[in-house]
Amino acid sequence: MIEILSPGLAIGLGAIGPGIGIGLLVMGALQAMGRNPEVAGEIRTNMILGIVFAESIAIYALVVALLLLFVGAPGLQ
């Protein structure tokens, strides 16, 4: 049971933070684009970069989840 639960918890809990972060980031970027449509292109590039860095936190959780799922933790077996 714990073998199935632990990868799920790892990715599920790990995705909360980046999810909120990406939401806030896009909110800010869209507001900025709405106020200054002439620099929308530049803001969009920076927004994508910001999303990528926020997302990499979720990627670390994904790595842990995949390791648990396919390789397994030493104590779990």
Binding site: G41, I48, L62
Partner: protein, 343 residues
């Protein structure tokens, strides 16, 4: 409401629902075996080099990119008549302009080639997961052999359709006793020096000939290592030996203890970059592929369609992000921290 009641619209809606129901009842798709490493194709060996299906996909993506690029520049014209050359010039100009906004004219011109090569290669490597036939045409082998070699525990029954063999959607699972006996028999066969062949296979497993290249960690880690090592070389070539100051006491705050720690963090973050760069690409594409598998497994009609659209976008986005981050790492490596130029 009135448009909904038109006979044509109603017929389309009812037909779609009927097809979905038929798909649920009669056209069940087996869930492909989900394995983390690239799967070795049985019997495909060059000497001692075992060919995996992600390797095949890498070669195909390479050939596509090379062939397209070659065709585009074969007859170069100042005012291009060929559509392909036009498209390539258009793409080149868009991304060159974008890189100029980030890193300036000189750096954009220097590295737009690296950027576009990575972008195009990863684009085709990522989108390969969407092509029908990939992930579904391959070699069928007994479940017992697959368990002994790769630890697969779920197989399917097979059915003959003309000259072809196909998996049905009836799942077969190995019990604990069967697993133990398979391990024993495989060890016996190995000790006797011949390959393990079960007499009455309980089920069968499909190993596809081609599986999208970026769903294999080997490719993405390889690319990330290449990019990070290359960025160090770029730094040394542009700044000379002063580049080492980026890690050893960079001139940032002016307070020496703080600077030493910042340099250390910078050094560690080079390794974190390898991990995040490779796992971002791998994680997104691998998860996307599993998503497509599961959606087709649940209902094989209509339901997978929006996810194909999503994966088209994700595939492009991840290729773009990988190439963009490469450019940014190159650009960062050329900043001097020796404290004599910018401060």
């Amino acid at each position: 409401m009135s448009t909904l009641l038109k006979p044509k619209t109603l017929a389309i809606i009812i037909g779609t629902i009927a097809l979905v129901v038929i798909a649920i009842l009669f056209f069940r798709v087996p869930l492909p075996t989900i394995l983390l490493p690239g799967e070795a194709i049985p019997g495909w060996k060059i000497g001692s080099f075992q060919i995996t299906n992600t390797f095949v996909a890498t070669i195909i993506a390479d050939i596509i990119v090379l062939a397209l690029s070659f065709l585009a520049v074969r007859k170069m014209q100042e005012v291009p008549e060929s559509k392909l050359q036009n498209i390539f010039e258009w793409v080149y100009e868009i991304f060159e302009g974008m890189l100029m906004d980030i890193g300036g004219k000189e750096k954009a011109k220097a590295w737009v080639g690296v950027f576009l090569t990575l972008l195009l290669f990863l684009l085709f490597a990522n989108w390969m997961e969407l092509v029908p036939g990939i992930d579904s045409i391959g070699v069928i082998e007994p479940l017992e052999v697959a368990y002994a070699e790769k630890g697969v525990t779920v197989g399917y029954n097979i059915k003959h359709i003309g000259p072809f063999i196909t998996l049905t959607s009836e799942q077969v699972k190995l019990t604990d006793e069967e697993r133990a006996s398979i391990v024993e028999e495989a060890e016996k066969a190995e000790a006797a020096g011949h390959e393990y062949h079960p007499e009455n296979p309980k089920g069968y497993v499909l190993t596809p000939y081609v599986r999208a290249a970026t769903t294999d960690l080997n490719l993405t880690i390889g690319l990330a290592l290449l990019v990070i090592i290359w960025s160090q070389i770029v730094g040394f070539r542009r700044l000379g030996f002063k580049y080492i100051r980026r890690f050893a006491m960079p001139h940032i705050t002016g307070m020496k203890p703080v600077d030493i720690i910042v340099g250390l963090l910078e050094f560690i973050s080079e390794f974190a970059k390898i991990i995040s760069l490779s796992f971002r690409l791998f994680g997104n594409i691998f998860a996307g592929q599993v998503l497509l598998f599961v959606m087709a497994f649940l209902i094989s009609f209509l339901l997978p369609l929006p996810f194909f659209g999503l994966e088209l976008f994700v595939g492009f986005m991840q290729a773009f992000v990988f190439a963009l981050l490469t450019f940014i790492y190159f650009e960062q490596a050329t900043h001097s921290y020796a404290g004599d130029e910018h401060h």
